[in-house]
């Protein structure tokens, strides 16, 4: 029970080599094919958003389970906790956007004749954009650190006050996250098309974040089990992860369709412009997005047996992870990079850099503590859990 993840030098080296390779390829692509500043910055934004989503979705996973006082996830709670430690790095990376803000966001360029954007000036101005960014990250980082520290203190003490505090922090996080995830998605993604708006955009991004982090947690479980850790995670726990991926993929599709259907029906030019750029110029990616994120988890995880095998669930989770990267691509790229948008070596190498960095940080913080919090009151319930 007292096992600890050993982040071996071998894995560290593999990750660093891959990351260096990614940086070299990205530099080569930028120098040789001149993709243009807006596409490079759009890549930075896309990967920031994707990996911030992984961290925040993991914190959301913890918070939801703690507030509802569920027991089954207790054995694997250290994995999402490790995923939240990427947020400080993400903060620095997000501040980099300052240098590319004019390439990304059209509203930053003053144009007094544009009445729509002038009307939104109270919200969309550069100082307030960065004030909000600092507020979001301050809240997220402080609350996730408190959540993580507090659950670690249950290693040395069995005091019930730490358990109660866990629920309190989770509640605080949920309230803060619920507001800021909507606001940050307006800031970072929706304001790329500053004329366009959708009232359920924040929800849509939130669910996307949650599904991606569920998929990533499943992949972490699969990987650690392959290395011989997490022996106590049985098919029953895997089953519940699979149920969550299944259910929230359907919910994601519901959100996607609700937004699409209303805009399609209403047929207002200022709303349909969003789908016209995406559907007409990137038809294949548009339908791949829907297929990978809905049909694959729906038919892949519909039967009882398919949810029991970690290998199979991990394959579906990997596909869903790629699918939601494509979803973010569709949200960001067509608006930010315009005609230059595409999925090429630049996108792949940039994502590789970010991915290696994310995995490195997750593994490092996972190896800094035990894999199971041994004084958690729900540990026995989780050990004997039957789904």
């Amino acid at each position: 029970m007292d096992e600890q993840f050993d982040f071996k030098k071998k894995y560290r080296n593999i990750l660093l080599v891959l990351m260096t390779g990614g940086i070299l390829v990205a530099l080569a692509v930028i120098l040789i094919s001149q993709p243009g500043a807006s596409r490079i910055w759009a890549n930075v934004l896309l990967n920031n958003q994707f990996f911030i989503g992984l961290s925040l979705g993991a914190a959301f996973f913890l918070a939801v389970h703690r507030v509802s006082q569920s027991g089954w996830h207790t054995l694997l709670q250290r994995l999402p906790e490790a995923m939240t430690t990427f947020l400080p790095v993400a903060f620095v990376l997000m501040l980099l956007i300052y240098f590319g803000i004019h390439n990304l966001y059209g509203w930053t360029n003053n144009n007094p004749t544009d009445k729509v954007i002038e009307g939104k000036r109270a919200w969309l101005n550069i100082p307030f954009f960065f004030i909000r960014l600092v507020i979001y990250f301050a809240g997220w980082i402080v609350l996730t650190r408190m959540m993580r520290k507090n659950s670690l203190s249950l290693m040395t003490s069995a005091d019930l006050k730490y358990h109660n505090r866990k629920i309190l922090f989770a509640g605080l996080f949920l309230v803060f996250y619920g507001i800021t995830v909507s606001a940050s998605s307006w800031d970072w993604i929706m304001s790329l098309d500053a004329h366009w708006y959708s009232t359920l955009f924040g929800w849509y991004v939130l669910i996307g974040m949650f599904v991606t982090s569920l998929a990533f947690i499943t992949l972490l479980i699969w990987f650690l089990k392959r290395l011989g850790y997490l022996k106590y995670i049985r098919p029953d726990h895997v089953h519940d992860m699979a149920i969550l991926i299944f259910a929230f993929s359907i919910f994601w599709t519901y959100q996607w369709f609700a937004q699409y259907e209303l805009i399609w029906y209403g047929h207002l030019p200022e709303e349909t412009s969003y789908y016209i750029t995406r559907l007409h110029h990137f038809k294949v990616i548009f339908y791949i997005n829907l297929g990978v994120n809905f049909l694959v988890p729906f038919f892949g995880l519909i039967t009882f047996n398919s949810k029991q095998h970690i290998g199979w669930v991990a394959i579906i989770a990997a596909l869903v992870l790629i699918g939601h990267w494509i979803d973010y691509w569709l949200l960001i790229m067509p608006a930010a990079a315009g005609d230059k948008a595409g999925i090429g070596l630049l996108e792949i190498s940039m994502t590789l850099i970010y991915g290696c960095m994310f995995v490195y940080i997750v593994f490092r913080s996972l190896s800094a503590g035990p894999l199971v919090v041994k004084n958690d009151p729900y540990i026995l319930e989780s050990l004997n859990y039957e789904s």
Partner: protein
């Protein structure tokens, strides 16, 4: 030829019930039925009852509902009674999806209830006399087939001597 006879074993908790079920099945006694006031976790595995096939019924009828709903709308709006609504084409898939979804859920739900009622032979005018009024409240009963010879009663009694039972009746 003896007539069929049964032994009923009474418990006041689910834990000894599960232990008894495992012991009896180990010793190859034939358990005809287990009666309990609520679903007992792990009982299906202990009795090695196969997983219910109700989800298959749900999937088949859900798919049927989806096909019927989509097909009907497609037929109505293109062949039977084409109307121009909001300047959209006659065959416009997004409008069909909410109704297709609703009918999928309706068919799946109703078919699963119907399949359950048919398979467990429940019908409105059924007359049912419980073995013992208490099993609808707080008693658990195992019914063991004892029609092979006269020794079953003593055999079961000795097998369950270590377990807290309320009474064992022939």
């Amino acid at each position: 030829m003896r007539s069929r006879s049964y032994i009923s074993i009474y418990f006041d908790d689910e834990v000894p019930l599960l232990q008894a079920v495992r012991i009896l099945r180990d010793k190859k006694e034939i358990i005809t039925d287990v009666l309990s006031p609520f679903p007992v976790h792990g009982l299906d595995e202990a009795l090695s009852i196969k997983r219910s096939r109700i989800p298959v019924v749900g999937f088949i009828f859900g798919a049927l509902g989806a096909i019927l709903a989509f097909g009907f709308q497609a037929w109505v709006f293109t062949v039977s009674y084409p109307l121009i609504i909001g300047g959209k084409p006659f065959f416009s898939v997004p409008t069909f999806i909410p109704i297709t979804f609703e009918l999928t859920v309706l068919f799946a739900g109703l078919s699963m209830v119907a399949a359950l009622l048919i398979r467990s032979k429940l019908k409105p005018d059924i007359r049912f006399k419980p073995l013992d009024e208490r099993i609808t409240d707080d008693r658990f009963v195992i019914i063991v087939d004892a029609s092979d010879d006269g020794t079953a009663f003593d055999r079961v009694k000795s097998l369950l001597s270590g377990i807290h039972t309320l009474e064992i009746r022939h």
